[in-house]
Amino acid sequence: MVDIAISMTLFFLAALFEICGGYLVWLWLRENKGLGVGLLGGVVLAIYGIIPTLQPAHFGRVYAAYGGIFIVSSLIWGFVVDKKNPDRYEIIGALIALVGVFVMFYIPR
């Protein structure tokens, strides 16, 4: 149970660093924010690369769970940072994708 809590925390942390790093690189190349912002994004992405090595154990289909967290986190990031409400098709598509994640991750084998 503790392992699962640690694992989920690390997933959210990884998604946060990955999306944040990608966003900084995006600001550099798409919003003309300067190379410094882009390089900072590179540093954040490098830190992101370290997080999965802290995962306590091998969890089999964890990447499916991470993908689901990543999809939802991206839409939340757009809502909070870019002030873009998820549109109908983003919500429908995300819900369908989460059904797929559920099938991969939770159906007992």
Partner: protein, 144 residues
């Protein structure tokens, strides 16, 4: 000629609906080409992310020298650059990429670790691909 007109119409719809300027993007001169190009970018991003993460992993978990980590950091930086070539919004590109990542991880495990996906993996992966395809490729009207 017909496909060119469809492509031109697709671009003008995209430009007016999404408030984007895709005419200047030679990769998106036709609908098919645009879809192939964006799929290529998603796969390329996945290769860079998994590859870069793997190099960092080798440094910290397999006691390889620091050169691996530096190379991994560079590859992860490249991973961050790839989505900036996508003709859409940041949050939509990243949400879609989340689904691509799951499927590519499955394929990676199959190819390199010999982890054969079972039926539920394949069904789940297919459902995920349908979901993210709707997120990314569903035509939008009146978008700002």
């Amino acid at each position: 000629m017909v496909s060119f007109q469809n492509g031109a119409m697709f671009i003008s719809v995209i430009n007016s609906k999404l408030n984007m300027n895709l005419e200047n993007d030679p990769k998106c001169i036709s609908k098919t080409r645009c879809i192939l190009y964006t799929i290529f970018l998603f796969i390329l991003a996945g290769i860079f992310e998994i590859g870069g993460g793997y190099l960092v992993w080798l440094w910290l978990r397999e006691n390889k020298e620091i050169t691996f980590a530096i190379l991994g950091a560079v590859v992860l930086f490249l991973y961050g650059i790839v989505p900036t070539f996508q003709p859409s919004y940041f949050h939509r590109i990243y949400a879609t990429y989340g689904g691509i990542f799951v499927v590519m991880s499955l394929a990676w495990g199959w190819a390199f670790d010999g982890t054969v996906p079972d039926n539920y993996d394949l069904i789940g992966a297919s459902i995920i691909l349908v979901g993210v395809a709707i997120i990314y490729y569903w035509p939008r009207k009146g978008e700002n």
